[in-house]
Amino acid sequence: MNLQILLLLGQDGMTSGAVYALLALSIVLVFSVTRVLLVPQGEFVTFGAMAMAAMQAGRPVLLAWLLVTMAGLRAVVATWHWLRHGVRPTLGSWWALPYALGLWLALRLLPLQSLPVGMQALLTLALVVPLGPLMYDLFFRPVASAHALVLLIVSIAVHGVLVGLSLLMFGAEGARAQPFSEAGLEIGPVTFNAQTLWVLVLSLALIVALYAFFERTLMGKALRATAIQRLGAELMGISPTMAGQASFALAAFIGALSGVLISPITTLYFDSGFIISLKGFVGAIAGGLASYPVAAAGALGVGLVESFSTFWASDYKEVIVFTLVLPFLLWRSLTTRHTEEEA
């Protein structure tokens, strides 16, 4: 092992670590606001990457159908509640359908393949982000006050269904997008791949933006309040539904952006998202599913450990990475006071 290999492995670990960190943040966010352990987080990554690759390859973006279907379901559910229980639907329960149809039409009409990469990325985000709140409304809101275990089961079910749909929409073969730019940057003996820099810079920017969002905006403060004391926040006039939708929207945004960022570096498959978000989850566990900075640092550590352990023992990489969770769990279980959650 010389300096060059050390730097290259470090760069590799930082790149994966940055993505894991983003996912860890969104897992912590969703968990603390809604108590949902977001197993389908990885699907947002896959959807983002695959939709982007489909646009560039000139294939129809079948993901638009999923958005239209989910928005349609949402409108049906709202209408049913209106007729049956006299609950007047808010504007919010119907907005999604015209939006989804409009986007679906736009994706059919626009010359997707020849659009600049930035536009393709924006369209991908426009497609994936609304899936987050829709997912919350359809699957999690009706059971929002249930036991955390119920929420976890629903979460796993949604993940299973989405992986199946993902296979239908994107096919079994992997996909890959074009890099944002071909240039590289030489620092010392190591050439930094331009895409790697994009990942690092955008991840960092996003982390800073998230910090500003939570510290400086009313919405962010409302989310934090809900995370700290749900009932208290509700008494203060913060709608838990709004908080849930917002946290799922953020999770979808972070996931889709990660997908768009890494799709030019690696081949992603219809079911790749799960293993990526699982590594983000290891980071989130390091932070006790509560602390953002520790979760981000933990995820970065996972990336670095993964990279170096692959170099020394490629056969045991996965074992080493997932064993990392044990000391944290042990430490947590020894240091935290246990309180039974009311059912």
Binding site: A57, E173, D271, S307, F311, S314
Partner: protein
């Protein structure tokens, strides 16, 4: 009277069905789950399989095992117990196939496995005599690659393979053939199919400075090791196994996989195959039929299932002499007849089975292929 009539009618019906007895064939493929890339073209091939031999019709019962070996066993048991099938084609994955051998053998149902691992038919024993395999054994492909390396003067080789039976068996087979040819394996790295970064394995391989690198990975997972080596500036020759012989390999790899050498069936380079090659016509028919039905080119995995259909078609007339479909006599006759297959051209090569060799390929089952100008091309 009406009762007598109905008895006569059912007797007549029975006679009619007996005369045109149906052969039932179960097809188990992994059209969902992690190895769906292999299973989907196989499932898509089922409508193209031969439907009739003489007066006997063949009915196919397709099942999906979702890539799960336990589900493969359940599917096989269902086919044997409920559907009373006469033969089975499948399952798609090597671990899946290994798990079902005993059940097919116990029920005495011939099973044609379109899987990579030679372990399903080797070493031959009482159970495996019911199993046939419609893919080239790894050593046949590896011998072609080692032959090319020797000619090209390659002395040292780095190996990158998947951490599953596919990669592990390749490492074993390749190193056993390379050593006598004076080729040294200087590094051996493994990875998982879903890995998103192979930087570390690439660095370690490049650091060992091999003349050539052999990548053994199935489907599109063969792409990332090679693009990683390209990005790291590796300049030696890169070899791939027949696992990479897919059009997706070209699509995903782009210019970074230019010049790769692999050995596989001639299916990829049909236009360049000599006109008198017996494989060419069969393969061209299959490709044309598949394209008409699904508007895409078939992967070799589908062709392996098609060949299984051809083997059955050729064996059924002899089996009918042994007994009626649906009986143990027919099934064992079918097994014997498949074992007697001589010089049968398929899409993957020419099959000549023996009691010891249930894969039945010779060197007509593979050609050396390279990537030139973004297309597969016969290596001359």
């Amino acid at each position: 009277m009406p009762m007598l009539a109905s008895v006569a009618l059912s007797a007549a019906l029975f006679a009619a069905t007996a005369a045109h007895a149906q052969v039932k064939v179960g097809v188990v493929s992994s059209s969902s789950g992690p190895i769906a890339a292999v299973g989907v073209p196989q499932k898509n091939t089922v409508p193209l399989l031969p439907k009739q031999v003489g007066k006997t019709t063949i009915e196919y019962i397709p099942l999906d095992d979702a890539s799960d070996p336990t589900a493969s066993v359940a599917a096989i048991k269902k086919l044997i117990g409920e559907h009373k099938v006469d033969a089975i084609i499948g399952p798609s994955g090597s671990p899946n196939a290994m798990g079902v051998i005993q059940f097919a053998a116990e029920a005495g149902v011939p099973l044609l496995a379109p899987v990579g691992t030679a372990a399903v038919v080797l070493p031959m024993n009482d159970q495996k005599k019911w199993i046939f395999k419609t893919t080239q054994n790894d050593d046949l492909i590896a011998a072609a690659l080692v032959g090319h390396m020797k000619k090209a003067g390659v002395k040292t080789v780095g190996f990158i393979g998947t951490a599953d039976p596919y990669g592990e068996n390749w490492q074993k087979v390749f190193s056993s053939l390379a050593a006598p040819a004076g080729i040294k394996l200087v590094s051996a790295e493994s990875f998982q199919r879903r890995d998103t970064s192979l930087t570390a394995q690439g660095l370690k391989t490049v650091a060992a400075r091999p003349d050539a690198v052999l990548i053994a990975a199935p489907g599109s997972s063969a792409v990332l090791p090679q693009t990683t080596l390209f990005d790291q500036g590796y300049k030696g020759q890169i070899y791939q196994t027949h696992g990479a012989a897919l059009d997706d390999f070209l699509k995903l790899g782009g210019k970074k996989v230019e010049g790769t050498i692999l050995a596989a069936s001639g299916l990829l380079v049909l236009d360049e195959m000599p006109a008198e090659d017996p494989v060419r016509k069969v393969a061209a028919d299959y490709v044309a039929g598949y394209e008409k039905l699904h508007a895409t080119k078939p992967a070799t995995f589908g062709a392996n299932v098609y060949d299984a259909g051809l083997l059955l078609q050729a064996a059924i007339p002899a089996a009918l002499k042994a007994g009626q479909p649906g009986t143990a006599a027919f099934r064992s006759g079918l097994r014997d007849a498949i074992e007697q297959t001589r010089e049968l051209p398929g899409t993957q090569g020419v099959y000549t089975m023996t009691a010891q060799d249930h894969s039945g390929f010779d060197e007509r089952g593979r050609v050396l292929i390279t990537v030139k100008g973004g297309r597969w091309s016969l290596l001359k």
